[in-house]
Subunit: 283 residues, 2 copies
Amino acid sequence: MSRYDRPSLTADMAVFAILTGEAAEEYRKDPEQKLGILLIKRGGFPYKGYWALPGGFSAKDENLHQTAMRELVEETGVDTAYLEPFGVFSEPGRDPRGWVVSQGFLALVDEHDTKVSAGSDAGDAAWFKVDVSRKELKKHVLKTKAEIKTKYTLRLEHRETGEVIEAEVEEVKTYNNHHETVSYSILENGLLAFDHAEIIVRAFMSLHEQAADAGRIIFDLMPEKFTLYSLQDAYEIVLGEKLLTPNFRRKIAPYVIETNETITGVGHRPAKLFKRNLDAFYD
Amino acid sequence: MSRYDRPSLTADMAVFAILTGEAAEEYRKDPEQKLGILLIKRGGFPYKGYWALPGGFSAKDENLHQTAMRELVEETGVDTAYLEPFGVFSEPGRDPRGWVVSQGFLALVDEHDTKVSAGSDAGDAAWFKVDVSRKELKKHVLKTKAEIKTKYTLRLEHRETGEVIEAEVEEVKTYNNHHETVSYSILENGLLAFDHAEIIVRAFMSLHEQAADAGRIIFDLMPEKFTLYSLQDAYEIVLGEKLLTPNFRRKIAPYVIETNETITGVGHRPAKLFKRNLDAFYD
DNA sequence: AAAATAGTGTCTGTCAGACAGTATATC
DNA sequence: GATATACTGTCTGACAGACACTATTTT
């Protein structure tokens, strides 16, 4: 055993939340909601001054899920989030300090539960609005081999300062003898540390995919009580497309229960508040 | 950095294939097909004489996918398999030799491409027929918390010797404040080394899930040319249920192309051979 | 002809997509 | 009453489930 080198092991977390915009300018319109991700400005080398995902080293006496949970509590104060591993990042050279292998975690939280206070003291943790756009670059198909390149452009905007980070990640799907292989490479890092541009893109893809499949994962981004429109908005943000209200409501009806409360102070007819129907979540 | 302990890192592979049974006794019936997994009898301590998944340590200059591919070639001779990471195993104490973290890979191969020769010399690598049965144990639902326990019974049968290994793994899904957490524990190891009972069960679950969703993953278990019935059989084996032939064919029609060959020597009307329709796989 | 598998046509109910319409709060 | 959002009813077409039927080869 000891003749093998050993890597350091870390858990990196893509913490997503729905960010509610500031009160709208147009006096009666609803505030815009966006998908947000939590990033931390690095204070030390390497990548000093760059933005990175929250995360940290795993200790010998804990599993990686515990590592991630521990870091999440430290960074956000949240202790009951949806937390799920979505990929391992082990490319040689991904960390200039040496051999570091990272487990990526997808964490979904309700922003209001976090203690990442808005505009906190020069704080090094901040919410960024996330936009991921996808562009198929080329299909290259031969007899027994095919290659499809897709470019993902990641745009992050600092919620308070407006600072913008842009990064590009390329996905290559190779079909060799009908077997699919996927690989990623970073084309442009922007001000993101390490390979975190790739981790963020893949975390978003994982979120998107799960939302498209079962959908229920979106509830983990919502507060305890919510309106059906804010829920629909969350779906639309993650799926990247508009949904038709009647159809959406028909689909999620089994998963929600009406309360007898409504929202207030909105300048138009107030919406009813709903909560999750727990029973429907237990398959 | 150096003040942290470091784990050893390994890739463990659940190599699945469809095993075609011996010629049937009843003179004209088709041979039965089963799902098979490749296991290796451990020659050294710990767990000497127990069966384990093929796998090995990752080296500093390769990523985990390369580690897995390297091991797969060594063990089976196959170099173009479907190979996909499905989970990380990092529970403290999972390996008595120390801190070992393992990335689990799902590998799907066509058995006929492998060099794990049937009944090879006291060989320490062997195909086992796999059966996983699932039993929901209990639902325990309170106001803000729920717990669902499910027991998975794994039954492995050595293809040549008939040796049977039985293991049991318990899955606990906890819903706390509406957030799902899943954890696994091994109830009964049988003659399986380390936590490989859990890895095998979760690999099977991953295969099952992907087959139920998109379905196309099943093609990775098939040879280049196949009959629609053998394809349906593979689906049925992985999904664990019978399918209706006309509906199945309607569903997979876009993914296959008819050749003008047929199988021969079957004692009844021979079936046409089909191959994959590559174009349909490129989303 | 019997056995066994190969393969097709079509009815039906469910459900997602689309759209038209009604309701109710604030300003 | 104007504005803005809240909420509902129903038509339609696509598609999965079910089943009845025909076809073709070997023994």
